[in-house]
Symmetry: C2
Subunit: 367 residues, 2 copies
């Protein structure tokens, strides 16, 4: 891990200003949070406060419908750069189902939305292949979707290539078995499952560093990757549905799941319990993040906020259950690590000890 | 209704090439339609063939989950032209819930997705107001959503204003009570409920005619409208949830509902029965469509394919139930007309007799 330069680039510089987004989000939420089905209780009522990984709506009979919507962001621009569209659909499925499973829901189905500058049937077929592959991995159907051709709204890396891919996934969860971070105790452990490269977060910063600052050709081989930069960035987001569902089916008392997306390990805090975490172990930093950090002169604070740093999914369990969590993960092809432990004396904080960082309030800073 | 010029403008000319979209859609669907939850039966299975207004997934216990995803298309560009964003959220809700109710589902909730070029908190608050107002009219909650800031993907009428608004709505339906067009008989009638202006379809063509060909200033008063062209185009899409739910709750044996969107009255055919329709009555053509047709020199064939022509929602019932359908509509503030009757000898065709058109296979042509 490269050390921090005094003035690293920030994510805001790369086109994603999360502070402004938060303010805008607050003012939007002020209104939408008031909307209710019926009197706001019973069937149709929200069964979970906001800020979790997925929304949950009461369906009656003790059953909850989990919902999540997310897109693949600017990863589509990399697909356009090299005209390779057969995996971007996997990312779309992954970003949604990985959120659903965090509340303990079993994903059932997803609808896709494609906003396009121009309909290209060849590209659509490639996108379809990825959606299908992702659906297989996630064990979901895709019973419908929408294509909207809007030349004046969607743009891309060159004229006519513009594309936005968004999914909305639904799943079922027993309301008595919501996984929301209840009952986490001091000494419980965080098991981290390996990511498959950059996934679908931090692409704006990654593209800027790799293609502008380092001036890499998208299709040229990069020694550290063993393949091209575009190929590396397009590695599809891992789908954690099968190991997570097996953990629940096998009765492992999972206390929390965390999809590690933007804000990195701070996603461990998106649960109900007032806990902090000390992470003492990390996997070796994947080459993609080493190259980006060195090429962009980026601080660790930035890297750990923007990228997954090798871990795509976290599972919090009592220490005695860590071994079986790792065994289930391994069975589904995921390496895993016991990253660290819960600490009730540091609520709302994540200490990343191998790099001397502490995260809190949407920021990482040096210890 | 103006008569057809020999060479009218076509919707394809306006930026929405529906033939290319169909081919792209087919190749996408070839893949996604294969995706399955489990073995494709039981909970998670699709309970309805494609091509209906909404997808339906089996939740077990005889209950179905209806799903729909749709955006407001280029109506957002009109909002940008006049910096008025407080109703576009209503359109987003409407486009989705009006599809859900067509299968007989009761809408419960919607997630929104905002793709933006730049987060503007003032604009987000206005969008939130519209989403809230739409949710109230549709009796749904909005338990979550997603904001994605992508300067390189989303664009608008001027730098920084880019915006795409998409929703995904869910509702519940008793699988024994799906409304899918079963049992329609000769002589059954189509009751049409009034639209509220252009709704969210045909905006690409409307904008081209009004603002380019006619060169109207968006904010200047238009005598025929009694207000500006932008104000007219921004009238929010009517939400038909309350009358439709009352019809079902009151036990009216509704045979089919149709959300009249793009393809106009051909939406009457998106049901299971092999029927045709003779429409003998239409409401007076709303001023917006008269102005567009005259200003653009558009053929009736084009007008009836692209625009709702005054009817936003259709209800097919036996003739003896038409009166109560109209009474329920009126109670909820909607004027309605008995537009015509079903005819089993003309399956797949919609005759619009007042203008001498016949629609079939995604086209209208002169009789």
């Amino acid at each position: 891990m490269t050390q921090t330069p005094a003035t690293g680039a920030t994510y805001a510089d790369s086109g994603v200003d999360t502070d402004a987004a938060l303010s805008g989000l607050d003012r939007l939420l002020k209104w939408v949070a008031r909307a209710r089905h019926g009197d706001g209780t019973g069937v149709g009522a929200s069964a979970l406060e906001p800020e979790f990984f997925a929304s949950v709506v009461d369906l009656g009979g003790g059953q909850g419908l989990a919902l999540s919507t997310d897109g693949v962001g600017t990863k589509v621009l990399v697909a356009q750069m090299v005209d390779k569209y057969d995996t971007i659909g996997i990312d779309c499925v992954a970003m949604n189902v990985n959120d659903l499973i965090c509340v303990g829901a079993e994903p059932l189905a997803m609808l896709d939305y494609l906003g396009v500058e121009r309909v290209d049937a060849d590209i659509f077929e490639e996108i379809g292949k990825g959606l299908h592959a992702g659906a297989e991995l996630a064990n979901i159907s895709i019973p419908g979707g929408e294509i909207s051709q809007m030349r004046e709204v969607i743009r891309g890396v060159s004229d006519g290539t513009g594309l936005d891919i968004v999914g909305t996934a639904v799943g079922l969860v027993d309301l008595q078995r919501l996984v929301v971070g209840d009952g986490i105790e001091d000494g419980d452990v965080v098991v981290g499952l390996q990511s498959n490269g950059i996934h679908s977060n931090g692409l704006t910063l990654a593209r800027r560093v790799l293609f502008k600052e380092m001036n890499l050709a998208p299709n040229s081989n990069v020694a550290e990757f063993g393949h091209s930069a575009a190929e590396e960035l397009l590695r599809p987001t891992a789908i954690y549905v099968r190991p997570a569902m097996d953990m629940l089916r096998e009765g492992i008392p999972v206390k929390a799941f965390s999809h590690i997306t933007s804000d990195g390990f701070l996603n461990l805090l998106r649960v109900r319990s007032q806990m902090g975490y000390h992470l003492h172990t990390l996997p070796e930093t994947p080459a993609i993040f080493q190259v980006i950090q060195q090429g962009g002169g980026l601080a660790d604070e930035e890297m750990f906020l923007v990228f997954n740093m090798g871990i795509g999914f976290g599972v919090v369990v009592a220490q005695e259950h860590a071994t079986v969590v790792q065994a289930v993960s391994r069975r589904h092809g995921f390496d895993s690590w016991i990253l660290g432990t819960a600490d009730s004396t540091q609520p709302g904080r994540v200490f990343v000890e191998p790099v001397g960082l502490m995260g809190e309030d949407d920021r990482f800073r040096r210890l």
